[in-house]
Amino acid sequence: VSYTLRGRVESRLAAVLLVVAAACVLALAEHKWWPVEAAGLMLGVGLALDIQVYHPLLRYQPGWAALPLGVLELGLVLLLMRAAGVAAPVWQAVALFGGGWLAAQLLAHAAFPLLRLGYAEDGGELGHLGAAAALSVGAVLAGAGATAYALRPPVVHLAAGVHQGPLVITHREVLVGEPGAVVRGGIVVRASGVTVKNVTVVGGENGITVERVRGTVLDGVSVSGPTLDGIHVRLAGVVIKNCTVDMLGNTLGQGIDISYTMDMGRTMVEGCTVTGGMEGITTHSSMTEIMHNSVSRTTMRGISVTEMSMGMVMDNEVRDARGIGIWCNDRSMCMIERNTVLDTRPDAMGHAFGVLTSFQSEANLWENQLGANPVASAAITQSEVQSGRSFSYR
C-alpha cells in the first residue's frame, strides 16, 4: 500500500485497538498495569515512526516490509519499557506485541479492504472508522490512565519525631517520612503494594520485616540497632534502594536478608550502605540484583548469594569483610561484575577470599577489583568460574 500519513495513522489506531483491549483484559486478569503501559508504548512508538520515519521514507510499502519494521518497533518498545521501568515479563510483552502485529497484518491485508471499498486507493484511510478508532483508543487509554490515577495508593505522611513501633502496615499505601521521622521498634509490612520512603527505623526485632507480600518498595530508609536483621524479607517481592543499614554491634544479624523469594520474581537491592552485621547483604533461594551498594565491617561475608539463588552482583564495594568478600554458594548462579573488594580479613580458619565460588555453583567474573585481598578469587567443591560476559542467568 502507498499510505498517506492519515492512512498510516488511522490504520495504526484501528489495529492497536485490539492490542489495547487485550492489554486491558490481561491487566485485569493479572492485576498489573504493565500490559496497558506496554500497549501505550507500542502505540507511541508506532505513531512516532509513522510520522517521522515511515511516511517520509516509504512512498510505497511492500508486504514483506512489515516484518523488519515490526522487529524495529519491538526493539524500540522493549528498550523504552526498560528505560521507563515498566516491569513486564519479557516473553509476555513480546507475545502481546507479536499478537498485535499479526492482528495488524490481518486487518490491513484483509479486514480493512473488506470493510472499506477504497482502502488501498485511499492510502489506508478509514474515514469514519478511522475517527472512531482514534476516539476509542484515546478513550480506553484515558480510562486506563484515570483508573490508574484513582487506584493510586494513599500517601500517609509520618510526622517528624519518634513514633513507637512496631508499626504494622496492613493496607496498600505510600508511607513517607517527614525529615526527622523515626519509628522505634521496627516496621512490619503485611500488605502488597506498600512503599516506605524516607523513614528512619531504630531497634526492633528486625528493623523492617517484609513477609508474604508483593510489590514492596523501600526507598531511602535508614535502619539501625535491630536485634536480628536490618531488613528481613521472606517470600516477598521487594525493591530496596538508597537505604542505610547500621548493624554495628550486632554480630549475628544480617544487614539485608532476602530469602525464598524465587516465586515472587526478581528482587533488587540498589544504592544501599550496610555497615556491620554477620553478612551485609545475603540472598537465599532468590533471584536478586545487588548493585551499587557499599558493604563494610561485617563479621563474616560482605555479600552472599546462596542456596540456589540467581544473582547479579554489580558495581558494589565490599570492604573489611571477614573470610569472604563476595560469596556465590550452594548451587547458585552469580554474575559478578565491576565490584571492588578490599581488605578481606582472615576467618578462624585463616582463609580470606575476595570472591569465593563454592559447592557446585557457577559464577561469571568480569572486571572486578580484587587485588587487595589475601586470595583474589577461588572456586572450590565442584564449582565453576568463567571470565568474560558470555554467561547469563536469564
Binding site: 502507498s2 498517506t4 492512512g7 510505497y60 508486504g63 484483509a110 473488506l114 471499498l117 486507493e121 492510502g123
Partner: protein
C-alpha cells in the same frame, strides 16, 4: 433501470461488480457488442502469447482488493507460495487464472441479465440524466468504451510486412519490433524463442517498472498531488507517466543478454529490411479517436487538455454531473483522474467513485 454502463469490456465489467454490491442486475444496463467481458483482452493476450499478467494479486475485477488472486490461488493450489509471492510483490497471476476468474464472476454476478447487445454512438445530457442513442434515459452513466484502436505508425500503415502486435501473427526469421513497452518486450522474447533474429526499433530507452505507473499513483498518496497540478503540468506529468515501460527482472534480461551475445538481438533507430515488422506501439491516444467521446465533447462543450477530457478526481465529468446525475468515464479515458486507469486497479478506482456518487444521489 437507473444505471447504465456503456462498454462491455473489462473496465465496464469491473464497474459492474462494484455496482452489484448495491444494485440488482435488473437495475443496471450494460451496453456493448460482446457479452464476454474478456473477449478483447483474450484476443490481444493470445496475439502476443502473453502467459502472465503484469498486474499483481489485486489485478482482478472484484470490488475489494481482498481476497486477491494470490489468496485464491493459494487456496486452490493448497500452497502458500502465491501468498509469499504477493508479500514480495512477485506474484503475477497467469492469463489463464485471470480469465477463469472473469468467467466465474460473469456466471455468478448476473452480468448476462444486465447485458444489452447494442452499440451506443451518442450520449446526450437531457433532463433527469443521459439519453443513450435511443435506448432510454439513465441518471447515472459510466462510459467505458476502452482503447479507441490500435496505433500503427504512419510510415508503416501501408507496409505489407507490418502487423500490429495485438493482431494474430506468426514470426518470420528476421523480425523488427517497433516499440518499447511490455508488448514489445514480450514480442522480443516470442520471436527469439522461435529462433528469429530480432531488431528493436525504439525512440527512447524503455522505462523499467513493475506496473504501468509508479505505485504511489495507485493511491491517494500520489493522486492528491497529481490532482493539484495545473492543466499544463498535469498534461506533461501524464505524458511522462505513460511512457512505454516493462517490468525489471531476469525474465526479460537473461534471454535478451544471451541473444545479444549470439548477435540475434540488436537495437536500431529505424526500420530496415527485415521480413516482418511488428508494431508493438500500443493504442491510439486521445478522445478524438473515440467517436462517442468526440461527439460528447463537441455537443456539450466539455473542457479538454492535450487529448484528455478534463475530469473530476473521481473520474466524473464535472460539467455534466451534479447531485441528481452522474456521467463518469472509465478505462483509458479516465487517465486525467487516475493515470493508470486502463488497469484493473484503475477500473476499480473509477467504479468506487461512481458507486459513491450513486449512493449520494438525492433521486436515487
Amino acid at each position: 433501470v437507473r444505471v447504465a454502463v456503456v462498454g462491455s469490456g473489462l473496465a465496464g465489467f469491473t464497474a459492474y461488480q462494484t455496482l452489484r454490491r448495491e444494485l440488482e442486475p435488473e437495475e443496471i444496463a450494460v451496453f456493448g457488442l460482446e457479452d464476454d467481458p474478456a473477449a478483447t483482452f483474450r484476443r490481444r493476450a493470445a496475439a502476443i502469447r502473453q502467459r502472465q499478467m503484469r498486474s499483481e494479486s489485486d489485478g482482478h475485477c472484484l470490488p475489494t482488493t481482498f481476497p486477491g488472486l494470490a489468496f485464491r490461488s493459494a487456496a486452490a493450489r493448497r500452497s502458500p507460495a502465491p501468498l509469499v509471492g504477493t508479500l514480495l510483490d512477485r506474484y503475477h497471476p497467469t492469463v489463464g487464472e485471470f480469465l477463469a476468474h472473469v468467467d466465474r464472476l460473469r456466471a455468478r454476478s448476473g452480468w448476462d441479465r444486465s447485458f444489452r447487445r447494442a452499440r451506443i454512438g451518442r450520449v446526450r445530457a437531457v433532463d433527469g440524466g443521459f439519453e443513450l442513442d435511443g435506448h432510454g434515459t439513465f441518471p447515472h452513466v459510466l462510459v467505458a468504451t476502452g482503447h479507441p484502436g490500435l496505433n500503427v505508425p504512419d510510415a508503416l500503415r501501408t507496409d505489407p510486412r507490418a502487423v500490429h502486435s495485438y493482431e494474430p501473427h506468426e514470426y518470420a526469421s528476421t523480425v523488427t519490433v517497433v516499440g518499447a513497452g511490455l508488448a514489445a518486450a514480450t514480442e522480443w522474447l516470442n520471436a527469439l524463442d522461435v529462433g528469429a533474429e530480432v531488431i528493436s526499433v525504439r525512440r527512447r530507452e524503455p522505462v523499467r517498472r513493475p506496473l504501468n505507473a509508479p505505485r504511489e499513483y495507485f493511491s491517494r498518496r500520489g493522486l492528491s498531488g497529481f490532482n493539484r497540478l495545473g492543466t499544463s503540468e498535469r498534461t506533461a506529468r501524464l505524458q511522462s507517466l505513460l511512457a512505454p515501460s516493462y517490468p525489471p527482472g531476469r525474465v526479460f534480461d537473461e534471454p535478451l543478454a544471451r541473444a545479444m551475445m549470439e548477435d540475434r538481438f540488436r537495437v536500431e533507430r529505424s526500420v530496415n529490411g527485415t521480413q516482418q515488422v511488428i508494431c508493438a506501439t500500443g493504442f491510439l491516444r486521445g478522445f478524438t479517436h473515440d467517436p462517442l467521446l468526440e461527439r460528447l465533447v463537441g455537443e456539450h462543450g466539455l473542457e479538454t487538455a492535450g487529448g484528455w477530457i478534463v475530469l473530476a478526481p473521481d473520474a466524473s465529468v464535472p460539467a455534466l454531473s451534479d447531485a441528481t446525475r452522474t456521467l463518469a468515464l472509465a478505462g483509458v479515458a479516465a487517465q486525467w483522474a487516475f493515470p493508470a486507469s486502463d488497469t484493473l486497479a484503475g477500473a476499480r478506482f473509477v467504479a468506487h467513485g461512481f458507486l459513491r456518487r450513486i449512493r449520494s444521489c438525492r433521486t436515487r
